[in-house]
Amino acid sequence: MSLFELQVVLFTAPALPFASYSRRKKMAFIKVQKTRPYFKRFQVKFKRRREGKTDYRARNRLINQDKNKYNTPKYRFVVRFTNKDIIAQIVSASIAGDMVLASAYASELPHFGLKVGLTNYAAAYCTGLLLARRVLKKLEMDEEYQGNLDVNGEDYSVEPAESRRPFRALLDVGLLRTTTGNRVFGALKGALDGGIDIPHSEKRFAGFSKDSKQLDAEVHRKYIYGGHVAAYMTTLTEDEPEKYQSQFSLYIKTGLEAEKLEEMYKKVHAAIRADPSPKKSGKQPPKQHKRYNLKKLTYEERKARLIERLNALNAAGGNDDSEDDD
């Protein structure tokens, strides 16, 4: 491989695992591709890029603060979805590491009355709303900025009040594909209605139609109150009752029916607005933390283990004398 080709490979080479090159016996007709000079010249990408978790191009643009604003923090409204949870945080960046101002998890919603469907559009709305109210309460702005009390799915932006300007954050979607109706925009809507100023456009809310280039507030309102889930529930109960039992088993267990969803969400919103502070769980942190990896052996322990293994090998070798040892 000429040096030029190596350089080309460097720029386009994907992140490679560390210990893939072992000194195994070379078979005559294979040329070792990843030689020692390859590894000596290989430049790894940033750790979070190797893990596929951070988009540095987007992060740079979100974090960069005007230099003539000196230490003024630039807050990002971070929304991330896992398989069973929604994480919403207000984060500001610093050289020591990002500082989280406030956070809200969908797994906290059971305290506010939402037991099932913790990762749907409606739950994302609740999480965004919870985060917004928490931040405003922390900054003592919650009286001034009540946000949108009339949830009708229309595009709402915070009006500046007399004394302080609204709390401003920028939406950070991470590596999500921002399609219309994505749950991340449900969380965005929750935060907006909660009273945070986030620059946005209504183009990606659920219910925006590409043809008419307008947001259908009715459809958006339906999604915020879980109307799409309720519709699916009713179609399943009519057509496929067994599938309804399997899909919505937890809903059935808590006694939720398609018609009751909307009023349940209304109650959750009211509970969130009433007291958004996090509930302390009674659990104490364990005195001895659980070990997730093996403890390193001492030199004596390793030597003793080696002697044990050799003895076992010799004993076994003595017994299987007929077998051919390689």
């Binding site: 430049q43 990408k45 540095y56 992060r59 974090i63 005007d66 230099k67 000196y70 960046a93 050289i95």
Partner: protein, 164 residues
């Protein structure tokens, strides 16, 4: 064809990125804050093409006189024939690092202020001036053996063997 003298001529090595440090610029570059009056080193980052200073300023240190959205104004000394000009240039953040040239002075000032305050409390006068390193004190040489070396008599036969 003669050599050109363009803006970035002769910068092949100085503006190139370091070995295995190419690609995405670490974000701490963008998180540092600069105030007017700070001293900064100018070190060009070849990956960012905007707001690059001229190659003359690469490696110079200057004071900040202006802070804008994405750049700082730096005042650098430049010798032009028989005088030194104070040149004011604007440089983007990526090409500028906080200088440590005043670090030692600032630490010493802090330490001296503390020493003086302590001495005042005790009622003594203390000199905080730095003293130059004096001549080394005298010492006895340890473990020395004496070896007398004398020249050996000149032996014509052996020295000229095979030579003449």
């Amino acid at each position: 064809m003669p050599a050109g003298h363009g803006l970035r001529s002769r910068t092949r090595d100085s503006f190139s990125r370091a070995f295995r440090k190419k690609g995405v610029i670490p974000l701490s570059t963008y998180l540092r804050i600069f105030k007017i009056g700070d001293y900064v080193d100018i070190k060009v980052n070849g990956a960012v093409h905007k707001g690059m200073p001229h190659k003359f300023y690469h490696g110079r240190t200057g004071r900040i006189w202006n802070v804008t959205k994405r750049a700082v104004g730096v005042e650098v000394n430049k010798q032009v024939r028989n005088k030194i000009l104070k040149k004011r240039i604007h440089v983007r953040i990526e090409h500028v690092q906080q200088s440590r040239c005043t670090e030692e002075v600032r630490e010493r000032i802090k330490k001296n202020d503390q020493l003086k305050a302590d001495a005042k409390a005790r009622g003594e006068i203390v000199s905080t001036k730095r003293q130059p390193q004096g001549p080394k004190p005298g010492f006895m040489v340890e473990g020395a053996t004496l070896e007398t070396v004398t020249p050996i008599p000149y032996d014509v036969v052996n020295d000229l063997k095979g030579g003449y």
